[in-house]
Structure formats: structure tokens, C-alpha cells
Subunit: 294 residues, 2 copies
Amino acid sequence: MIAIDWGTSSFRAYRLSEQGGVLEKREATLGILAVSDGNFAAALESQVGDWLDDGDAPVLMSGMIGSRQGWKEAPYAACPAGEPEIAAGMVDVNWGEGRRAWIVPGLSCRDESGIPDVLRGEETQLLGVLSDLPRNSAWVCLPGTHSKWARLEDHRIVEFSTHMTGEVFAIMRQHSILGRMMREAQVDEEAFADGVVRARDAGGLLHHLFGVRSAGLFGQLADESSASYLSGLLIGHELAAIPRLSETVYVLASEQLAARYVQALSTCGISALVLDSDGVVKGLFRLSASLPKD
Amino acid sequence: MIAIDWGTSSFRAYRLSEQGGVLEKREATLGILAVSDGNFAAALESQVGDWLDDGDAPVLMSGMIGSRQGWKEAPYAACPAGEPEIAAGMVDVNWGEGRRAWIVPGLSCRDESGIPDVLRGEETQLLGVLSDLPRNSAWVCLPGTHSKWARLEDHRIVEFSTHMTGEVFAIMRQHSILGRMMREAQVDEEAFADGVVRARDAGGLLHHLFGVRSAGLFGQLADESSASYLSGLLIGHELAAIPRLSETVYVLASEQLAARYVQALSTCGISALVLDSDGVVKGLFRLSASLPKD
């Protein structure tokens, strides 16, 4: 089968063996925003057409390709949702002679106030790591521009929440008065931990943010350490917002980002386990077993 | 006397009568960042030199002119501080023959974790409205790019905190994914109130921010209303961070901004009184009585 992770800014394709092993991988800066005229069929053909010429390997895709801005909208499946609900929500696209592909739906949920939340792509990553999680219940953290926290019970995603941690960090650094004092430097783990601890104080995030500046003014925070402090502060606020956080958290991220979350969780007295970040491939392979056999 | 409100981006000068009435007002886009070569003496002379030619009216200045980037640093007076401490912290500058001016110091305080906070300019506004406040205790809110909340007891500023509400609103609107959906429109008071109420939910600001997008995706928030909702959300989080907020809050702001804070406070069941925003002039006049008589 062919597994495709097609996001806003990147395209990754994997040719898998019948056992799910990766035989070949291709990457391109061909995110959905970069596909000219919305001609996704031509884009896909250009990337993996040759993989399909000698057989009818199924093609499964996940990520923003299934959004309103993508190829074809795959409506969100509502939580609680497990593999059956996600598989049932896949939509197919036909793209020329004998070419067919399936798009995995994202997930939605609503909190007690009725405010919706959404994810797209992470549902596939979560399916890919199911076998690494305790069956009864687990918190999985997928940090990033928009961090996702998913609560799994009995291998179903019962609830999740999105936190704009990565994006707020980036724009505060680039566009706010705080960024003016920040100098590029290695991660300062001590300053990072100080930020995490600060997040537990009263005062609120909007006040704590100004503290980055005032601590700098008073020489309590070096310009070289203030980005690390800000990062710890924001991640600390993210952690503080997760309810009933006591057992081990499973972190699904690249090595560098995972290290930050493991440190932040540890600072809060919570243990963490980092999972392989190739969940998408495993998840798409898992879903391929649910495809109609026609 | 001459009262001068000299900030980062603006310059305002007032010629006052002996009773403190405003005889004449001048405004210029001559903030401290716009003064070439740091020649503040020449800048001041160009603006108010003619007011000084036939007498020796004292000149008092407050705002960022007293910061490290200004004319001469007037070190922060530490809270608790009242009029005597602020007056004692004024520093003078001599600027040519017979020309002398005084710069009012800002204030600093530290919270229980030892993180400092600072303000500069607002101390003068606060002195200017003292007579409008109950003597025993009062919360004064000075909203803006960096909102300040000051707690006064016995006409002294005992503590204060800064919240980056206005700046975070502006950069989220201009630079984040949320801004893409926002259309210019009138203030939508209902959406604003929804944002204020949302801030009281669990989940944290970083999560609530993403809700602006997901509520939009689900048609629960119109593009024309999302800026109002975001504004309410941020102001709501600011209010939630103020401890022991029960009695009447005194709001010191321009009419439009004050209206937003009065609505937000009212939504939270707290009454508010808007004070005249010409506190700086009154505060500088009040401080002029403390100048040495030499």
C-alpha cells in the first residue's frame, strides 16, 4: 500500500510492504497550499505515479488534504471515536484511469460549554501508537504549533483539546515587545524550568508574559535565556490546563520537542514516555485493513 | 507650570494656571523613539520654549522619558508608594541657560515569587485621580497595550500588575492563524460577552484561543464577530487574574476602551466607574507642589 501524510506545507509518501514495513520514502515541499490550481490528482501522480504502475496498491492519505482547503473534505468524525468510526469516515477520490485513493477524516469534539475542537492528521498518528498505550486509559500529547492532548480510553479517543502554544511562542518572539530582548542561543534548561514553575503561580498568562520583560529589565533573566523561559512559561500553562493529569503521559513528537515536554512534565512531577513519531505510517497501514475489498 | 506627558510614541505638553487649569495644550508625534540623536533638550525647547521665555514656570515630565531609553533614567520607586515617595524620586535635568525640568519616577513591585513588575507614567495618572477614589482601598484599572491594575490603600499604591492584553490582541489579530478569519466590523457586544464568559471556563487561554478558530469552522462564530470575541476572551482572562476582585473597579481609559472594560466587568458581576483620563495633568500639577523651592 501507499501511505501519504499530506499537510498544509509538506507532503510525505511511503511505499509499504504487505507487513507494513517502509520500502521507500519520498518527501516534497508540496503541501496543500503549494498545489497549483487545486490539481491534487496531478500532484499525487507526479509524486507516486510510478509506484502504482505495476499493481493496484491502495493509497491512503491523512492530514489537511481532507480539509475544506484540500482535495476533498472528509467530514470530522465525532468523539468518542476509535478505529471503526475513523475507518467508516474515509472518503475516496478517483483520479484518472484505475486511480483511487482514500482520505482519512479528522476528529471533532465539544467541551461542556459546547465549544468545538478539531484535529486532522493526529487521529492517524494516535491509531498508529495504540499498541504502545495501556488499554484502559492514557493521555497522549502531540506538541507543536497547535499542541493536541488526547485522552484515550479502551483504545478510543474520548476527548481532546488544542493549545496554540507553538504558534503563540513564535509570534510573541517575532512580533511582540518580548522578542526585542531575545537573543538566539542554546536551550537554557534552567530558564525553561523557571518558566514552567512560573506558570503555576497566580496572575495569569497575560501577566506572566510581561514578567519576561520586567525580569529582564531587573537583570533576573538574561537576554540569551529569555526565549527558553518564554517556552517553559507557555508549555507550563498548557500543562496546567490539562485536567486530571497524574499518570504517565505519552509524548508523540520529534526528539527535540519531546525533550522539552518531558522536562516540563518532570518539573511538574509527572512521568512521560516518548513514542516513535512515525505513527502516521503505522496508522494508515492499520486503516488499510478496513478498506472495502472491491 | 508646564506638564509634559512624554511617552514612547507621543508627546503632549500642557501650560497650566496656578490653580492647575489647562491654559494651552500641544501635541506632537515626538515620542522618545522619534527624538533624533537623543537630543531631548532641543526637542523640548522646540515644543515649549516660548512658554518659558517670560518666566520660570516649573516643568514636570512623566512617562517613558524617564526610562533607560529616555532623557535621564528616573529609577523606579518601590511599592508601597504614595505621593511622598514618588515626589522624592523625581530627577532633574538642566537643559541650557535657566532651563530645568523634573522627571517623575516609575514604580516597581515584586510578587510572592520575586518576579518584578514595572510601570511608568501610570503612577502620575493614579496621583491625578486620588481625590476620586475611596480613601481606604480601591482597584484602579488602566487598560491598554499593557494593561495595569493598581491596588490603592490609604491613597498609596500597594501593589500592581501588568497584563499584555492589548498587545496580544493586536499580534494575534495581525500575525496568527486567527487573524485570517477576522473581518473588520463594528464591535459585536454579544460576541464580546461570549468571549468574557468563555474565559471563566477551564482549559486555559492557549486552548481558548484555538476555540476562536474552531467555533468559526463550525459556524458558531461569524468572521465579522471573531475579533470582538477574541477581545472579550483576552479581557476576560485579564479580569480572571486579578485577585479579590469584588468591589467597584475604577477604570481610567479613553471612552471606547473604558466601555469594553465596563462591559466585561459587568458580565462578571462587578461594578465599574470610569474616571476622566486627564489624570496625568492633574498628577503632575499635584507633584509640582512638592518641588524644592530654590
